[in-house]
Symmetry: C2
């Protein structure tokens, strides 16, 4: 993997490129994913992997929990569960997850950010810095936010409804003048159906007490770090719900409605 | 992974299912892939991994070589290169590959096959036995074939043309009354763009002298073995051609034309 450090405020730029000679080494910097977004969209809300297993493959990422019980934020090697009350809870290793993606976060490229007024502008800044839209990127923004609007999916009971129905009635939260961290992923368009193509951002306050899936935000000041992943690994569930799901359909429009 | 042995001619059936209690272990039985089919479709014919590296992650699979120099068959831990003359050549470890997928083949399920008159019927038999269309499957058929029609893509020179143009003028080969092995993959529909959704079958004669990408076949008698992979790993190229390619487009129709 590359190790690049970009100077604060586009000042001194130090590049330490990977050796480009000879065949590439097979690195350990994988984005490790459990199940697929299409399965989650269709109501496959119970998985056969635990958060403890997830942490063996990464210290940074996002997802959800069995029964769709809230938004997962994995940060600095800890798993946080933002439940439908907007509160972030610690998670025992044995808690199950039906969908999540993590990596061992390397601060490959770091850049200071000044005021950014909305999520679209923030995403443009990240895309500019990330550069390679055909790679996966893990995205970390530590900063002070003027405003963060989040949601957290509420725990479901069987029979499970599709995700697009659940998020139509989701609890939403407004946080103002708050310090915290955005934990996000960029997924290439060609992997739509496996994960959410484009940006997928979760949030956790600096005191690790609140957060959720980011719907809108404005930044006062912060630091953006990007870890590019050229190694993408997916573990598929071994259960009947996953086997029977009609995963081949194009769910791009429903995913857009669920994510925004 | 499951270990299942299904009796010859649907006679005695012995099932050894995986333990379904508690969280699932993260297995080592991955389907390990280099690059994506969409990149290959768009003419990204040079990769930054070698066949030697590929063999570290599997002993069974298929792909192609740098410059699109023929069809790759990986069988029993050896890489064979079926070039545009229809002949299978041994491959040095240092040979590069722009697209390939391999696994460590386990004979999880084995079944005898009797006469099958065409590729469509063969694929239906495999699908019936594989069962889970949302998983990846490695497929091995050892047998005597009445007929196998193959093709082998010819080595390209820069500037590279898209794959759909190359295969419009591909060398094709007819093999009659021949013993050999089909080396194939099933990719779920949701992973179209990453690999070829559906079946992708290559062939190698028993004496390892000829083969190619299977366009048609009829079987006299044989043995079908399936290895289901619930762990899918993709390594993306780290080169400018891959970064710049418009990989997000739906190339399903072009892929169908290239493969059949």
């Amino acid at each position: 993997m590359h190790a690049r450090i970009m100077g604060i405020l586009a000042a001194a730029v130090l590049l330490i490129p990977a050796c480009a000679h000879g065949p590439r080494a097979v690195g350990s910097d994988a984005l490790f994913q459990i199940s697929t977004i299409n399965a989650l969209m269709l109501g496959v809300y119970d998985g056969d992997f635990t958060c403890g297993q997830l942490l063996q493959h990464g210290d940074f990422g996002l997802g959800t929990f069995n029964g769709l019980d809230g938004e997962m934020v994995v940060l600095d090697g800890k798993v946080y569960q933002v439940r439908a009350d907007g509160i972030a809870y610690a998670v025992p290793d044995k808690t199950g997850t039906p969908f999540a993606a993590v990596t061992r976060f390397d601060r490959e490229r770091v850049e200071a950010l000044s005021a950014i007024s909305n999520i679209e502008t923030l995403e443009k800044e990240i895309a500019r810095m990330a550069g390679n839209e055909n790679a996966f990127h893990a995205i970390r923004i530590d900063g002070r936010f003027a405003h963060v609007k989040t949601r957290a999916v509420p725990k479901q009971e069987k029979p499970y409804r599709p995700l697009v129905e659940v998020t139509a009635h989701q609890p939403e939260f407004e946080l103002h003048d708050v310090e915290g961290t955005i934990v996000g992923l960029w997924t290439p368009q060609y992997a739509q159906g496996l994960n959410v193509a484009g940006f997928h951002l979760h949030f956790l306050t600096k005191d690790r007490s609140r957060g959720g899936h980011v719907l809108e935000c404005s930044l006062v000041t912060g630091t953006l770090a990007i870890d590019t992943c050229l190694d993408f690994r997916v573990l598929l569930p071994d259960n009947n719900e996953f086997k029977a799901a009609d995963l081949g359909q194009d769910m791009s429009e429903q995913i857009r409605r669920v994510e925004k």
